[in-house]
């Protein structure tokens, strides 16, 4: 019997500020469902006083980016005021949006210099119907934002075809870069997500998109939760040739909600939260979450992970921690041991 130990996760220098728990979409794969649209006791919108306290936190943590998250962050009624406040503190504005933003928010972002504004617009595959106004609105937002914007897409099923992203980039003039995610489960598993048994099929989607993207001069930036072994050596070579940013990461992101509670990341929202105190730094929060997660990090999304060379040498974290933790089970038991004489 060995007492556990594990490599600590890599260091990141980011934290996301949740400024709205309200969203105007209901994506089945969304892992923020527990926080959205009144499902959380946290306020719907972050007020300006608390936002300035968040900026203080970024300052003392040495972070130059104000990463605004939701819900849909641009639905915040004082969105422009928040952006101006962050700019006054010399922060680069990074917005994670579904693209269905009010005109005032779009006007605000489109007026900012490209050097200080980065909008990641998450899109779902168009439904193709004449009434798919959401897709048209996203196209409009992307066109107005131009190189301030880049696309984001989440693979949430094994028959998805994300190739539609490439003509969208060409049509709108947004940055030739796609953030590619794999839908990860909340701990409850209540959202649509990719099961580890489906990762091989996802790998083929990623490689197919990487080939097409490379031909179109577009790069892929793979988000957390992918694992090294889901790709064959030939597929990895293809990704390298396509200059895709591949990584096998899973770290505390630090999402700070409107009530001032900090979580490891949305999929692990129910793993526990820490309060954002006046002197808290991002590094202290990250260290606390890393320590809390360490025992679970001995495992990975597959039964083979704990004995895998890629994981043992630190190349791969073993996949999404939420997916790993969903493998654990609780079976409280009582065992009655009779005091018997052993006959020798």
């Amino acid at each position: 019997m060995l007492r556990g130990s594990s490599n600590t996760a890599g260091r990141l220098t980011m934290a996301n500020l949740i400024i709205s728990t309200v969203c105007n979409q209901t994506c089945a794969y969304c892992f923020t469902a527990d926080h959205r649209n009144g499902n959380s006791p946290a306020p719907a919108f972050l007020d300006i006083h608390d936002f300035n306290a968040r900026l203080d936190f970024l300052d003392r943590s040495g972070m130059e980016h104000a990463r605004l998250l939701g819900g849909e962050p641009t639905l915040h009624p004082g969105f422009t005021e928040l952006v101006e406040s962050a700019l006054a503190r010399h922060k680069m504005i990074v917005v994670f949006s579904n693209g269905l933003m009010p005109d005032a928010a779009l006007d605000c972002l489109a007026s900012l210099p490209i050097a200080v504004c980065h909008v990641m617009i998450n899109v779902n595959a168009p439904t193709g119907g004449a009434t798919d106004t959401s897709f048209k609105r996203r196209r409009t937002a992307l066109t107005r934002l131009g190189e301030r914007a880049m696309l984001s897409f989440n693979i949430d099923r094994v028959n998805c075809q994300p190739e539609f992203l490439l003509p969208l980039i060409a049509e709108t003039g947004c940055r030739p870069l796609i953030r590619l995610g794999m839908a990860q489960p909340c701990l409850s598993g209540s959202n649509a997500h990719i099961h580890p048994k489906q990762y091989r099929a996802v790998a083929q989607i990623v490689v197919r998109l990487a080939r097409a993207a490379s031909s179109a001069g577009v790069k892929l930036d793979m988000d957390c939760g992918f694992v090294r072994c889901m790709f064959s050596p030939e597929e990895l070579e293809t990704l390298t040739e396509a200059k895709a940013d591949v990584g096998w990461r899973c770290n505390p992101i630090l999402d700070i909600d409107t009530a001032g509670q900090v979580i490891h990341c949305f999929p692990l929202a129910s793993f526990g939260a820490l309060p954002l105190a006046e002197n808290t730094t991002a590094q202290a929060l990250r260290d606390a979450f890393t320590a809390a997660a360490q025992p679970f990090r001995l495992a990975g999304v597959y039964p083979e992970c704990s004995n895998c060379g890629f994981k043992l040498n630190g190349e791969c974290t073993g996949g999404c921690l939420a997916a790993t933790m969903r493998r654990f089970r609780s079976t409280p038991f009582r065992l009655t041991v009779p005091c018997l004489e052993v006959t020798v």
Binding site: M1, N307, R329, T331, P332, F333, T336, C339, T343
Partner: protein, 91 residues
């Protein structure tokens, strides 16, 4: 026969079966233990609700041991779990 000893595991304890081990994690204490070989087999049987007598008999059959030797192996495992704090006296 003397009084029976009852053990229970903490409700904070979760576990999984990997290819090469059983991993136990106490969520509250943030401790983990890796069980291999006979320990891993016995843990799985225990967590599945098998009785002590059934486990000793199954272990004897599985490893080709006498019943007495199997009983010693089971007792040693239970004692080790108790010393490690994985299970506690449960009333």
């Amino acid at each position: 026969m003397a009084d029976a000893q009852i053990y229970a595991c903490s409700p904070d304890l979760v576990w999984l079966q990997d290819d090469n081990m059983v991993l136990l994690v106490d969520r509250r204490r943030r401790e983990s233990w890796r069980l291999r070989g006979t320990d891993a087999i016995l843990w799985t049987w225990t967590a599945l609700g098998y009785r002590y007598q059934a486990m000793t008999r199954m272990l004897a059959l599985l490893l080709g041991l006498s019943d007495n030797t199997a009983q010693v192996r089971v007792d040693e495992a239970i004692q080790a779990w108790h010393v490690a704090g994985i299970i506690e006296h449960g009333g």
